[in-house]
Amino acid sequence: MLNIDSLNKGIVLDHIRAGSSMKIYDLLGLSQMDCCVAVIKNAKSNKLGKKDIIKIEGTTDIDLDVLGFIDHNITVNIIDNGQIIEKKQLYLPKTLTNVIKCKNPRCITSIEEEINHVFRLTEDGTQRYRCIYCEQEYQDK
């Protein structure tokens, strides 16, 4: 059994779909943060069978929109004094700015300097995002 100390202050991201923790690690820019981060893969889960967990020590300032975009079923626990003081609910964000990039070579984002890559959630309830400039759908491939 792998043991990782519990946090005194920080965030625990629980119920991450098994295998997607490193993607979250990258998109949240955790490699650039000067704090202790534990990534636990393939932990046992009653709910999911297998799950990933990320523990971030010392900070509670992370981009919840990014998490909502990747998987709005992730549980976000805010820890202080070793206790869960808040559970944050995640939503699919209406817009995403500079989280994902438009891959359409015909899009203005392919040549314009300093342009924000902005995606908007489609209104048809299908949980898809389209670039605001060219309207091409984001595909995670």
Binding site: I108, D124, Y133
Partner: protein, 306 residues
Amino acid sequence: MRHLIDPLDLSVQEIDKLLDLADDIAGNPKRYSQVCSGKKLATLFYEPSTRTRLSFESAMLNMGGSVLGFSSANSSSAAKGESVADTIRAVSCYADICAIRHPKEGAPLRASQYSKIPVINAGDGGHQHPTQTLTDLMTIRVKKHRLDHLTIGLCGDLKFGRTVHSLITALSRYEGVRFVLISPEELRVPDYIIDNVLKAKNIPFEEVENIEDVISQLDILYMTRVQKERFFNEEDYIRLKDSYILTMDKMQNAKPDMAVLHPLPRVNEIALEVDDDPRAAYFDQVQNGVYVRMALMMTLLEVEHA
């Protein structure tokens, strides 16, 4: 300040009002000959165009205004690597309104984010071309006396044809409209139009490959050119370029009051023999384009009516 980037930037009521104004201009062009006196239009054309640029310039000159601009990326600072955002900030100091055509999709939206003057999308890549749509709507209204309860066939390159995307988007707001989308499989309407417009609004449409099977149903036939400049692969272009050619033989099965539209330029997709048929409306579109751009610039510049 308003821009026209997407056909839906104007409400149905605003489009009706704008088309009424365009009709009035068509009937009384002299009354509008000085309404934009002292105003300047900048035409920022990063991509070659004959019709659209001249139509904009003619429209402004018809109203007593003046024009400045460039007609290819090579003759602008884009060749030096200047961004659209920087160019429009400069142009905002020189002109009162601008029309921008750009090969990259979303460039006019980018310009509008930094502009101090109204920006009109004069075509962005294979994306949208809203002033062509206003031209098309005016022509359809003149020919059919309505914009609702129509069966519209769109034929040819429906994938890269930006006028097609804009026209479907604009007409989708009118009651009783039905679309017949005629194209080879490779050039079908993009899914963002199918999903966001047609399916989202429950608008009846069918996708077919054969024009002969459906031409008798149509009130409007909107022909388009397979555009060489939109293909990254020359082989694909050559394979698809002659997919649909409208001839008098095919026109025999069409309704006697069907109108044939085309955003022009054409290559060979409408045989010259069709030009003499009273149902050919594509040269009327060119004239209507000037009137509707006059009406649009008057509206965006908020100038007083004559």
